[in-house]
């Protein structure tokens, strides 16, 4: 019943926000990787 009334729009919006958080995680992941590489070089 609820799926008829544009519920998919809400699902799409929540998915978009989740994608944004995933992009943040990838960005952070790469930054930490760079730090690790730098530390490993120093040793």
């Amino acid at each position: 019943m609820r799926s008829m009334g544009k519920m998919y729009v809400v699902v799409a919006v929540i998915a978009a926000i989740f994608t944004g958080i995933v992009i943040f995680l990838i960005y952070l992941d790469r930054k930490i990787k760079k730090l690790e590489d730098q530390i490993n070089h120093h040793e």
């Binding site: 019943m1 009334g5 729009v9 730098q38």
Partner: protein, 349 residues
């Protein structure tokens, strides 16, 4: 451990709450379609009514329907048949035209039952010479029901997507709160020249950009399904995009200086400037535009009146707090990585 991190748990708990409550509370019942929208006086007419979240079949013995004239006089339905929970057939013997009636005017079709409450929709009435049926407008008062259970408002065209209010709008408000914090820290940096303040501004500004871009994307998805296009050059869409571009230039400017002190100083000054443009671009200019599709602009109905009712407030305000805390948490992670990087480059940091 728990003492230091409670606010992160709070952020997650609040966002969980907004997702569950935001998705599970039903919409109020409403009418999707009523045919025909135009009737002639003095005719016998059958209305085909399509409802949404309605209980017509369950309430088939307690349904009532009237046509109501502007002066409050009404004509009851001669026969009501519930074809399904969402379908109704209403027979009306519409009273004949009276001398002095305008060529066309509007009457209201009011449908009522104890479970769903009442619905009303406008019907155009044309003047005619016909005298079928012989029904007359009656002076009569009727008792209408109100839907009691927790529910969100039913808005034509928006329907279930009204729940996006809990996800799209908090992005912008959280973005603005984080931008305010960044601007305050910029002022503190200019006053005290503490390089840590500059790093905090940088981390918060990244979150401002992320929330701003998510605000634009979620808005575009919502717009596609209510206004017809992802981008319809709505004043609010255009001005917020300009605001994000101005804010985004902060990162370009910051990257274009070598000397760390000069970099931090100029970036802080620019950050304050970019923040100063936001209230105008996000709020004042779109509100002044008469042709905005957004609620609250020009003569459009604001979220403050009927769209944002008290049930919605109990989800909407927590969502703002939840996403702001989430943004602070994410900014703090960025900050910690930035500071570690500075430490590796410069042992004195």
């Amino acid at each position: 451990m728990i003492k230091k991190h409670w606010w992160k748990a709070l952020a997650v708990a609040i966002i969980f709450y907004t997702i569950f409550r935001g998705l599970l509370v039903p919409l109020k019942p409403g009418l999707i379609n009523v045919q025909p929208p135009i009737v002639e006086a003095g005719n016998v007419v059958t209305f085909q009514v399509e409802g949404y979240n309605t209980n017509f079949l369950k309430e088939k013995d307690r349904l009532s329907a009237w046509l109501v004239r502007r002066d409050g006089k009404l004509a009851p339905a001669s026969r009501i048949e519930a074809t399904s929970e969402r379908g109704l057939k209403l027979d009306f013997d519409i009273p004949a035209s009276e001398t002095g009636d305008p060529a066309t005017d509007t009457v209201q079709l009011v449908i009522d039952n104890p479970t769903d409450g009442f619905f009303q929709t406008n019907i155009s009435r044309k003047k005619s010479e016909r005298l079928n049926g012989g029904a007359v407008w009656q002076e009569q008062s009727v008792e209408l029901h109100q839907k009691k259970a927790f529910s969100y408002p039913f808005m034509d065209n928006v329907y279930e997507s009204i729940r996006n209010l809990y996800f799209h709008v908090p992005m912008w408000i959280a973005m603005f709160i984080l931008a305010t914090a960044a601007a305050i820290l910029s002022v503190m940096h200019l006053a005290g020249r503490n390089p840590k303040r500059d790093q905090q501004v940088l981390a918060l500004s990244k979150m401002v950009m992320l929330f701003g871009i998510l605000g634009l994307i979620t808005g575009a998805i919502w717009a596609r399904n209510t206004w017809g296009d992802y981008w319809s050059n709505d004043p609010k869409q255009v001005y917020t995009a300009i605001g994000l571009l101005i804010y985004g230039a902060y990162f370009v400017l910051r990257a274009s200086f070598e000397d760390p002190e000069k970099k931090a100083r100029i970036a802080s000054v620019y950050n304050i400037f970019a923040f100063a443009t936001l209230p105008a671009l996000l709020y004042i200019l779109p509100k002044l535009s008469p042709d905005s599709l957004h609620p609250g602009a020009g003569s459009n109905i604001a979220f403050g009146s009927q769209d944002l009712d008290n049930t919605m407030r109990t989800v909407f305000y927590p969502a703002i707090i939840g996403w702001t805390l989430m943004g602070v948490w994410m900014a703090q992670l960025l900050l910690r990585v930035q500071i570690l990087k500075e430490r590796l480059l410069d042992k004195d940091f």
